[in-house]
């Protein structure tokens, strides 16, 4: 579509009779459009100036102040009033130094700020500013020099923001971080001390024990002929206690060692580990009539030596606690729960009362009498430590007189990739 201006001229023949109309049209679209654009842009300019002023005044979190070339205040938004407390009437025409610390003005800090803004066109700073009531806040400040068409300095615009809270919280975060680092450091030290303590205790406890055991044995072997039967019985008590303490020390030493060991993860064939662990169990396991069910287990990315130790502990527990069972059944298997392989060791032995389940993994905690089932109460603590060092978890379900199942999952880092699992399932 075009806009045109038209002229009509009546045409006549030689006799002066009208014989037609001549129409001449001129396209004036461009002219019309230019006029409209100019009107529109004038309106827009006016509107945008109003909007800009409103906008500046609506800015609550920033103090926006304009100064003349001498540093006297020429405009003041409501953010400034909010931030600094002075009303526009109070501050207009005043020297901007009223918003600064007295000493900053005296030391020439403010003058330097304006000088640098004038020289560079722009200047950023952080520092203390003063409110009307004399209180201070930490401000982030941008000062911009304003220049006229001829390049002469006509003044400055200063935009301030109160970042006291941010500064405080940054300071707090720094302090908290420092505290955290110190606490971690202390924790590391305590841990190291504890480990070296338990290690040396275990060693130093061995020496006197060897003497107790040694002399008691010499007494029994070489002098029991001259002793009352009761005295020989007491000697046996001493020897049994010494043996038990020896076991306690060895187990404690193991537990301490596991805390110090570096995990060496590798892809481990768990089924093979379990079979090795069963073959190496004490002779009781081979001599008794135990029914073993071992399912194929998925490979795990773990420390194979430690994993074997888990199974050795859980399996010898199972052997021990099925001792009074005529048809002992010990089962090893795996289930996927939440996509993670969870291994289990199940027996149909003595079981325990679930109300004591929380004591199960504590060092020296035992749920059975020494006379019924011997033990040091360190085995399961060791197992739990291994599982936790792998980032996993262990738990048990049990019923008195019908058996116990231990479950453990090693955590996400212990899985081999999905592809390998698939081939493994096929193989299984």
């Amino acid at each position: 579509m075009v806009t045109v201006s038209s002229r009509w001229v009546l045409r006549k023949d030689e006799q002066g009779n009208p014989n037609g109309i001549l129409e001449s049209n001129r396209d004036i679209t461009a002219k019309k459009e230019a006029e409209a654009t100019q009107r529109k842009s004038e309106e827009e300019n006016c509107q945008s100036e109003i909007r800009f002023l409103l906008l500046i005044d609506a800015v609550k979190d920033y103090a926006i102040v304009s100064l003349d070339a001498d540093g006297l205040v020429t405009s003041w938004n409501s953010g400034t009033q909010r931030l600094k407390g002075h009303s526009a009437e109070e501050i207009m025409g005043q020297y901007v130094g009223r918003l600064y610390l007295q000493e900053d003005v005296e030391r020439g800090k403010l003058a330097e700020e304006l000088r640098r803004a004038a020289a560079q066109g722009h200047m950023e700073d952080e520092g203390w500013r003063v409110r009307k009531d004399g209180s201070r806040f930490w401000a982030e400040v941008v000062t911009t020099a304003l220049r006229g068409a001829g390049g002469e300095l006509i003044g400055f615009v200063k935009i301030d923001r109160d970042i006291t809270a941010r500064r405080d919280s940054e300071k707090q975060i720094r302090e908290l971080n420092l505290q955290l680092i110190q606490q971690l450091d202390q924790l590391g030290n305590v841990n190291r001390e504890l480990e070296s303590f338990s290690y040396s205790v275990s060693h130093d406890l061995r020496a006197p024990l060897r003497l107790v055991d040694g002399f008691a044995r010499i007494l029994k072997e070489e002098h029991s002929a001259n002793m009352a039967p009761e005295a020989v019985r007491y000697l046996d008590r001493i020897l049994t206690a010494a043996t038990h303490m020896g076991q306690l020390i060895d187990d404690l030493l193991n537990l301490a060692k596991i805390g110090r060991l570096e995990l060496k993860r590798e892809r481990a064939q768990i089924t093979v580990l379990v079979k090795q662990a069963i073959a190496e169990l004490p002779t009781e396991a081979q001599e008794r009539n135990i029914e073993w069910w071992v399912e194929p287990l998925p490979e795990l990315n773990c420390d194979a030596r430690l994993l074997k130790l888990i199974f050795t502990n859980l399996l010898s527990n199972a052997v021990k606690f099925t001792r009074k069972q005529a048809n002992a059944v010990i089962e090893v298997g795996s289930r996927a729960s939440d996509g993670q392989p969870t291994n289990f060791v199940r027996d149909n032995g003595a079981g325990f009362d679930m109300q004591y389940a929380d004591k199960l993994f504590g060092v020296f905690q035992r749920l059975h009498r020494q006379a019924d089932f011997e033990g040091t109460g360190i085995g399961l603590a060791t197992v739990q430590r291994i599982v936790r060092r792998h980032g996993g978890d262990i738990w048990a379900e049990s019923q008195l007189n019908s058996g116990t199942t231990f479950f453990f999952a090693l955590g996400p880092r212990s899985e081999t990739s999905g592809e390998d699992r698939a081939t493994e399932i096929k193989r299984a």
Binding site: H203, D204, R210, L211, D213, G214, A242
Partner: protein, 154 residues
Amino acid sequence: MLESETVEILLVEDNLADAELAPHALKKSKVANRVLHVRDGAEALDYLFCRGEFAKRDEGVRPVLVLLDLKLPKVDGLQVLKQIKSEPRTKAIPVILLTSSKEESDMATGYQLGVNSYIQKPVHFGEFQEVVRQLGMYWLRVNSKPPAAAFLHV
């Protein structure tokens, strides 16, 4: 105290009760009867290098075997070992570390310094007796002692 001429084993051990157990085991299994017990590292070195109270002893007579504990007063076991193994006069004497420690760093240092054997004392006396019997059998009977030429100054 035994006449130094008759010493088969020099036992370096600060604990008196411990020092009684090893000779008991050796005597019982009839492997060695002549064990000299010294109670710290300094005394052991005095004996081996004929110093102090051992100044008058015949330097040409040496123990067949040194049984050395690690944790000793004054001069510790590894220091004693180091001095024995760095002196041509004593270097060839077999030294066995017989200790409660299975600390890897102790074992590594011991072997680096040239110890001939490192044995952790078993807690059970029965096992301890057996270990002492075996080592006595091996070093006093099976093994050929270093000849005098092995101790010549180079």
